[in-house]
Each structure stands twice: as structure tokens, then as C-alpha cells.
């Protein structure tokens, strides 16, 4: 009964229009009082401090800042123009950039929320300015953000490897092909949509004379500084993922200087935008962390999982059930804390039912982030809705997410049906 009451409270607060973070806090207060009484409220401050000083979350503001600087320096416009000049008039080419950038940045960050926010600030804004279809653009961004934890480097993969006793490097390799398959599906979907309705493409003519391909490639050189600062420094063993985000910020400053857009007011505007957006996102994360702790304290999460795991069902049904749990729970709960609860319970089951660990954990990881882009509670949706131009409302992000949720589910089925997708690359190690 209290559980239903709690869910009713949460939905009630959401639908009344209480801000998301406050609605979560309201629910947490209610749940804490129901669970243990006022004593339970004492975990709130410590939990808030813990979340707001978590080192992984440092990347959220840094990535958003990187996006702000790139956008304000004109880098994104130059990028779009360059692709126009290099690729020519191929249908949906601008959307391809969105897919590429999403997958690339997804690779750089392990955080779907950070990527969604950063892309909302950059490619969403540029794509919409070019007359792109806002739903298609937002869907691509969310899809790309969803791939962030699967494509290396990824902190979440490391955590799975550590908790489940699976080889971390093999898991990282296992995620690459499914990530690329999902990217290809996104591309095909866009082509299909544009074939049916060409008006949803970005404007063909921006009134800009077509430049030479060589010049276009040259114009991309400064942009590659940023890519190098983020990805290169990690691969060369110069910086950790957190540090590389900070290096990327300074790379973006250098790019802005090269494009002659660097000024104190530009830097301050970028910082202000980043601070406001990060504060809003991280407040939601703090609230969701408390919710996860309360769930763990109540024993509800592990009871639920054990009950389902105890059912006698054919392996496929078990697999579907085991994947539904993180998908549904990740709509509400903090990914990392949820992993701490689920992975120890799941690890023996992988062996019991004879699932291939690479396939299983890759599916698990995709499901975790899928929860983050699924309406109505997905954090990446909130982040994108807030980071993107005002014409893209939160409800637009809901609509935009749906087809891409479908595409990722197709990817999940492919990963399950086609074992080499996750087995081949790890076998080369």
C-alpha cells in the first residue's frame, strides 16, 4: 500500500508541474517518513553531499562547458558547412553529422546525461537553425547519448567488469560493434524518414556558395584539436577521462581563438549557461540518488529481483525479465547505485542460465541507458529539453525519443540473435 501511495505522490507532483528535482525530493521525504520516520531524513544531507562531490559527475559541467564553447566559437557551424562541402548534396547529410558527433562524443564520455546536454547546446541548436526537423534531431541526440556508456571509454563498463568478475577489456571491446550497429540503424531510419517526407531534411540552400572540399577539410583542422584533447589524451595515457574533459575545454578555447571568437564575454556567457544547466541536472541526480538509497534500504529492489529470478521460466523469458528490470528501474533510479544492487544478484544467474557474459552485460548496459532516454522520467530527456533551444519542449523530446527507443530495442534483439556482434572483437584480444 505505501508503495502505491508513494508512486501516486511522485506522479501527482510531476503532473502538477512541480519541478522535477523538487518532485523527487518530495517523494523522497514521503518515502523516508513511511519507511522509518523522521530519523530516515538524516540520510538526505550526507547523500546530497556525496552526489555533489562525486568525481564522475565532474564531467557533466565540463562536457556542457565544452559544448557551449564549441557552439559559441562557431565550430559547429563550420563543421556543418564543411560536411556540406565535402559530402555534397547527399540527402540527410546533416543528420549523419548528428549521428557521428553523438557516437563520437558518446565514446568520449561515459555519461548519457552529459552528452545529451552537450549536444542539446551544440548540434541541436545548429541543426534547428538550419531548418532541421527538431524531432529527428532530438531523437538522434538521445540515441547517440544512449550509446555513450557502450562505446569505450566508459566508466560504467569498468564498474560492470569489476562487480561481475568479467574481463573489463573484453567488455569494452564487446560494446563497440553493437554501438556501430545502432549508429547504422539510426542512419537507415533517417534515410527512410527523409525518403517518405523530404521536407524534413535540413535546408538545401543556406545561401552560402559551395566551397572546395580541400578548404573544407582544412577548416576542420582546428576542430580536431578538441577531438585530440579529449580522445587522444586518453588513448595516449596522458589524461584520465575526467581530466581529458577539462583538456577539451581548453582545446575549445584554443579553437575559439583560432576562429577569432574568443572574448571574455564569450567565456563568461559559456560559463553562466553551463553553471545554470549543470546545477539543474545535478540537483535531479542528487534527488535520484537518495531515492535509490531508500529503495535499497527498504530491500524492495533486491526482493523484486530475487522473486523474478526465482521463477522457473525458459532462458529467453528469464533474459527478457532480467533486462526489463534495469530498463524500468533506470527510469527512476541512479544508474551506478542500481548497478551495485543488480550486478551481484545477476552475476550467478548468468552462469546458471548459460548466457554469454559479453552478450548479457552489453544488453544490460544498453538497457540501463535506454531507461535514461525513456519518457516520462529519463534524465537525459530532462537534460536535452533544458539544454536545447526553447522550440524543443520537454514533450517534444518525449515524442522524439520513441522511434529511437524502438531502434535500440532492435539493436538489443540483434545483439541477442547474433552472438558474433559481442563475441568477435573480444576474441581478437
Amino acid at each position: 500500500m505505501p508503495l502505491y501511495a508513494g508512486v501516486a505522490v511522485l506522479f501527482g507532483l510531476f503532473f502538477l508541474g512541480v519541478p522535477v528535482f523538487a518532485a523527487f525530493f518530495g517523494f523522497n521525504i514521503f518515502a523516508a517518513l513511511m519507511l522509518m520516520g523522521p530519523q530516515m531524513l538524516s540520510i538526505f544531507p550526507a547523500s546530497i553531499l556525496d552526489t555533489s562531490t562525486t568525481s564522475e559527475l565532474v564531467t557533466v559541467p565540463l562536457f556542457i562547458l565544452l559544448g557551449e564553447l564549441l557552439f559559441r566559437s562557431g565550430s559547429i557551424t563550420i563543421l556543418f558547412n564543411a560536411v556540406d562541402d565535402i559530402v555534397g548534396r547527399v540527402r540527410g547529410r546533416q543528420y549523419v553529422i548528428v549521428v557521428l558527433i553523438s557516437v563520437l562524443l558518446g565514446a568520449l564520455s561515459g555519461s548519457a546525461v552529459a552528452v545529451a546536454a552537450m549536444l542539446g547546446r551544440t548540434v541541436m541548436a545548429e541543426g534547428m537553425a538550419r531548418g532541421g526537423d527538431k524531432h529527428l534531431l532530438a531523437g538522434l541526440v538521445l540515441g547517440g547519448a544512449c550509446l555513450a556508456p557502450v562505446i569505450p571509454p566508459s566508466f560504467l563498463v569498468v564498474l560492470i567488469g569489476m562487480l561481475s568478475g568479467t574481463s573489463i577489456s573484453a567488455l569494452l571491446a564487446a560494446g563497440v560493434l553493437p554501438g556501430l550497429v545502432a549508429g547504422a540503424l539510426f542512419f537507415l531510419y533517417v534515410q527512410a524518414v527523409l525518403w517518405r517526407d523530404p521536407s524534413r531534411d535540413t535546408q538545401r540552400d543556406t545561401g552560402r556558395p559551395k566551397g572546395s572540399a580541400l578548404r573544407a577539410v582544412l577548416s576542420l583542422l582546428p576542430f580536431s584539436i578538441v577531438i585530440f584533447a579529449v580522445l587522444g589524451l586518453i588513448l595516449l595515457g596522458i589524461a584520465t577521462p575526467n581530466e581529458s574533459a577539462a583538456c577539451g575545454v581548453f582545446g575549445a578555447l584554443a579553437v575559439a581563438a583560432i576562429y577569432r571568437k574568443l572574448s571574455l564575454s564569450m567565456i563568461i556567457d559559456s560559463l553562466r549557461g553551463t553553471v545554470l544547466l549543470s546545477s539543474m541536472i545535478l540537483l535531479i541526480m542528487a534527488a535520484s540518488k537518495i531515492l535509490t538509497q531508500l529503495m535499497a534500504f527498504s530491500g524492495l529492489t533486491s526482493q523484486l529481483v530475487s522473486a523474478l529470478a526465482g521463477l522457473t521460466l525458459p532462458p529467453v523469458a528469464v533474459l527478457i525479465l532480467l533486462m526489463l528490470i534495469p530498463f524500468v528501474l533506470c527510469m527512476f533510479l541512479d544508474q551506478i547505485a542500481l548497478m551495485l544492487i543488480l550486478i551481484p544478484i545477476y552475476t550467478p544467474l548468468v552462469g546458471t542460465f548459460g548466457f554469454d557474459p559479453m552478450m548479457f552485460w552489453t544488453l544490460f548496459l544498453l538497457n540501463l541507458t535506454l531507461g535514461a532516454i525513456t519518457p516520462p522520467f529519463g534524465y537525459a530527456l530532462f537534460a536535452l529539453g533544458a539544454a536545447s533551444p526553447a522550440e524543443l519542449t520537454l514533450r517534444d523530446t518525449y515524442l522524439a525519443a520513441l522511434p529511437f527507443i524502438g531502434l535500440i530495442i532492435v539493436t538489443l534483439v540483434l545483439v541477442w540473435a547474433c552472438p558474433p556482434l559481442t563475441a568477435w572483437l573480444p576474441s581478437l584480444l
Partner: protein, 189 residues
Amino acid sequence: MTETAAAPGQGAATSRKGSPLPRAFARIHDGLTEAGLWAAIAALAGLATLSFIGTLARYFFGTPIGWGPDWASYLLAGCIFAAAPAVTARGQHVAMNLLESVLNFPMGRLLLSFAALILTLAILTTTAWIVWGALRAAYVAGTATAAGYPIPRWWLLAVVFYGFASSAVHVLRSLIGLVATVRSDQNRV
């Protein structure tokens, strides 16, 4: 769908019409909020610079900045909560006011905004009060952060408290603004 919890400037609008004391209070509160935002901007700039210089110092000079990561996380906390009142004042928290877009009669919308603001106020006040308790306890006990480079825990809790409490005041001002708008509309009729 709007992304507005406390509509920007509503509180300020009321105070302009109101008596001098609330007006002065509103001005001070708005000034404090902007100052908090600037502090958050400084914290973020510091955080990015610290991580960047830390990387260079370790890789090129073999002298890592030991306190860097701890201070980066303190700055992150400072950044989030010093900016929180400004987010509230600007109405930049995401909200899902689905009902509001369904209701198309003004009175219904008004009641809805009223309910949302009251609930938000209650939640933020309660949270601020909970944090205040922890802040006092940490101050009295002299607890530090469990880090290699500790700072008093109450420093951080003070910023968290400020974030919630000042946000609550912004919501309260919006609520007063809403009531004042309704009153003046009635007077006109």
C-alpha cells in the same frame, strides 16, 4: 509545455508595487542570487583550470597536484548549490506541467500554478530544514570531509543549505506575486 517553476521576475514585479521593506528585501535577495551565480561561475572556471593544470603538472613536470581532485569535487558542490537559487529565479528547472497544457480555462491554470508553487515551497523548505540540522551538527562536532585534503564539512553543507533555502524564498516570492496578480485582476473587475 513550459520549463518554468517560479516564473522569472514575478517576485520582483510584486515588490515593485509593494511597500518599501519587501521591496528592499527583494532587491537584496536578487543581488545575493546574482552574487551566488558569479561564485558558481568562478567555481566552474576554477574546477576546469585546476583539472587542466593538474594534468599538465603531472604529465610534463612529474609533480601532480595532490589536492586537485578533492578540491575539484568541492568546487563541483559549490558550483551546483551556489547557482541553484539563480536557476530557480530564472525558472530554469525542468518541470512536466502536463496538466497545465491540458487545462484551457484560466482559473484552472491559476489554481494549478498555485498548487505547484505551494508544494514546491513546502518541499524546498523541508529539505532546507533537514540540511540545516546536519549543518549545525557538523559545525558543533567539527567534522571534516573524509578526504585526503579535508575541509570542514559545514562549509559544504552551508552552500547546500543556501541553495535550498534561497530557492525556497524565490518560490515564496513567486507565490506572493501570483496572489497579488489575482487580487489586482479582481479589483479591476
